[in-house]
Amino acid sequence: MKQAIKADAAADLIPDGASLLIGGFMGVGSPHRLIDALVAREARDLTVIANDTAMPGTGIGKLITSGCVSKVIASHIGLNPETQQKMISGEIDVDLVPQGTLVERIRAAGVGLGGILTPTGIGTLVEEGKQSITVDGKDYLLETPLAGDFALIAAHQADYVGNLEYSLTAHNFNPIMAMAGKTVIAEPHTIVPVGVISPDSVKTPGILIDHLLERAH
């Protein structure tokens, strides 16, 4: 059983300079209370690994605006002009990764694989500096695992074991990232008694979760 903690207590667990896997897609399915708490405690020098940096004022966009982030590894920053400006000014280092490659690199880290072979990016800028491997006559890029010091996971519902259930397109990177953080903090919308979530509905087993945020009020 887990004791649910407050968002500011969770943010205090995360030191400056940490690398964070943060779930979400344009802010949908992002751990918003954890993000707000990181902004409030003026976290600095974070590396954010996420699909995107949302928009100014939303989700990960708040971390960008508040100067919490020194490096971003993402597939898309097109809807956040601040990330682009800070990339051009050199304030934030941005590494762009194709979306399917990004999720598989994170998955590889979480499931103990030494990398993945993908056809995505062959013959493009993404190939630069990477090893290409031919399997059965087809070329693939070797993409390496991508782990984080922390994974910040948003879920629809949790129980006090830490089992997580997700909602609709708020799944996105969350179930994958929950495997790949050294420390995993889950932010559920609601918490229900153990046994309420059917085993078949659990997408992230509670054994993966280190800290459980209290429910949203």
Binding site: G27, L96, Q99, G100, V103, T120, L168, T169, N172, K203
Partner: protein
């Protein structure tokens, strides 16, 4: 009919019944409006839904249900929600029948560039590289020229999205199929002549006999 509607209507004719289809943001998403009523397909949004539906009425939005552009959508009966690994597994694994994307440039090899303009616009490739590398059928839908300048070139000078010959290019002026030896002009747009297409295109076009006009 404006250029975008011509393009969306023509692309809709390429969509086969009972397939899985991914429509890009903007112009490609308009294709859904012009599918014949008897053509049932599932639309995939790469952020995690198979069976994307129309925008919900005001006040009935679900904050956990959006498309890949972040806009509110609905899910049709029979829909499935999936995580990003499965979503891109479907795309790369040969389970996605058709992707319709926008384009900045396309060249005589049929190679697409659509994710960055160095020094000007670096939004990131998002899912585009996986979609072009992995979908069974890749349809590029775009206006034929940008501020009067051709977008269909001998060779792309913008960074490529993939080293893969796309299946079809649909503009308001032409339907073009990239083939082994170049770009085959298959149809012309409403009120457009073959000469009009040639003069608005930098790439060489292969013209075989009479070129029909789009039937919209």
């Amino acid at each position: 009919m404006d250029a975008k509607e011509i393009i969306a209507r023509r692309v809709a004719q390429e969509i086969q019944p009972e397939t899985l289809v991914n429509l890009g943001i903007g112009l490609p998403s308009m294709v859904a409006n012009f599918l014949p009523k008897d053509v049932h397909v599932f639309f995939q949004a790469e952020n995690g839904v198979i069976g994307l539906g129309a925008r919900p009425p005001e006040g009935m939005e679900d904050p956990d249900l959006t498309d890949a552009g972040g806009g509110f959508v609905t899910a049709v009966p029979g829909a499935a929600s999936i995580d990003s690994a499965m979503s891109f597994g479907l795309i790369r694994g040969g389970h996605l029948d058709t992707t319709v994307l926008g384009g900045l440039q396309i060249d005589e090899r049929g190679y697409l560039a659509n994710w960055m303009i160095p020094g000007k616009m670096v939004p990131g490739m998002g899912g585009a590289m996986d979609l072009v590398a992995g979908a069974k059928q890749v349809i590029v839908s775009m206006v034929h020229t940008a501020k009067g300048k051709p977008k269909i070139l001998h060779e792309c000078n913008l960074p490529l999205t993939a080293q893969r010959r796309v299946s079809l290019i649909v503009t308001e002026m032409a339907v073009i199929e990239p083939v082994e030896d170049g770009l085959l002009l298959k149809e012309t747009g409403p009120g457009v002549t073959v000469d009009d297409v040639i003069s608005a295109t930098e790439a060489n076009l292969i013209i075989r006999g009479e070129v029909p006009s789009m039937q919209l």
